[in-house]
Amino acid sequence: MERTSKSHRHEEDLCLSIPSDLSAVEPVCRQIRSLLQKRHLERMEFPVEMIARECLNNAILHGNGGQVNRVVNFGMRVGKKQICLRIADQGMGFDWRVHKRSWPQASAASGRGLMIAGAYAERVAFNRRGNQVTVWINTAREGR
């Protein structure tokens, strides 16, 4: 995982702002699938939706602490070789530098979200504050 400060918001094919409510994730996922179908990238629906769900859930529950007055911004850009997702919350951020890339114990019922996103992604980068994540997914890679 790394840090990024670049913004490609103007190039995004999908740019949404949703309240910090888990039910708001479903319409975003529907738009993701629709966009991928239009680009004939149906094979990417599962990995892209997995990543988007994990990052959106994290932003809503942990980033914004479930405070519905805070929003989560979502951006998606579909390129020829890569799909880029950007998820930003209005929270204090977290120290991604100490986040270890390791799986939790098999019996642990939590702690897999970011690891799942990382497993499907080509690259994951956070801003300095840790309240925005950018994820790149290689379109040549079919699923896991």
Binding site: M50, R53, S107
Partner: protein, 111 residues
């Protein structure tokens, strides 16, 4: 929109998930499963035949249910899993722990 339905039979229950086993349905499903297990159910089968995605919250729910049932000498099974979800469980080495099996229509999935 995701939903679920539950059927009881012979000391066991079968929960079928339609859509996604995701964070938005997990809290309600957690309560339902908790009540079932506290009520004496020892075999829980989670049927994912109509499920296209499972997120980390859904996985957490299955692991928590498996943990609780194993303490009561019960067992959880996750059946009719799509190939993509099966690969997800495989990558996390959860196939044996959650007794995961694939969809018959797509051929038996093997770890």
């Amino acid at each position: 929109m995701s939903s679920y339905r539950m059927e009881r039979s012979d000391g066991g229950c079968r929960v079928s998930i339609d859509g996604g086993l995701t964070a938005v349905v997990v809290p309600e499903l957690q309560q339902v499963l908790k009540q079932e297990v506290e009520g004496g159910t020892q075999r829980v089968t989670v049927d994912l035949a109509a499920t296209y995605i499972v997120d980390s919250s859904g996985i957490g729910l299955l692991i928590a249910a498996s943990n609780t049932l194993s303490h009561k000498s019960g067992q959880l099974a996750v059946v009719n899993v799509s190939p993509e979800i099966f690969r997800l469980f495989q990558s996390m080495r959860l196939v044996p722990r959650l007794n995961v099996s694939g969809r018959a229509t797509t051929g038996p999935a093997h770890e």
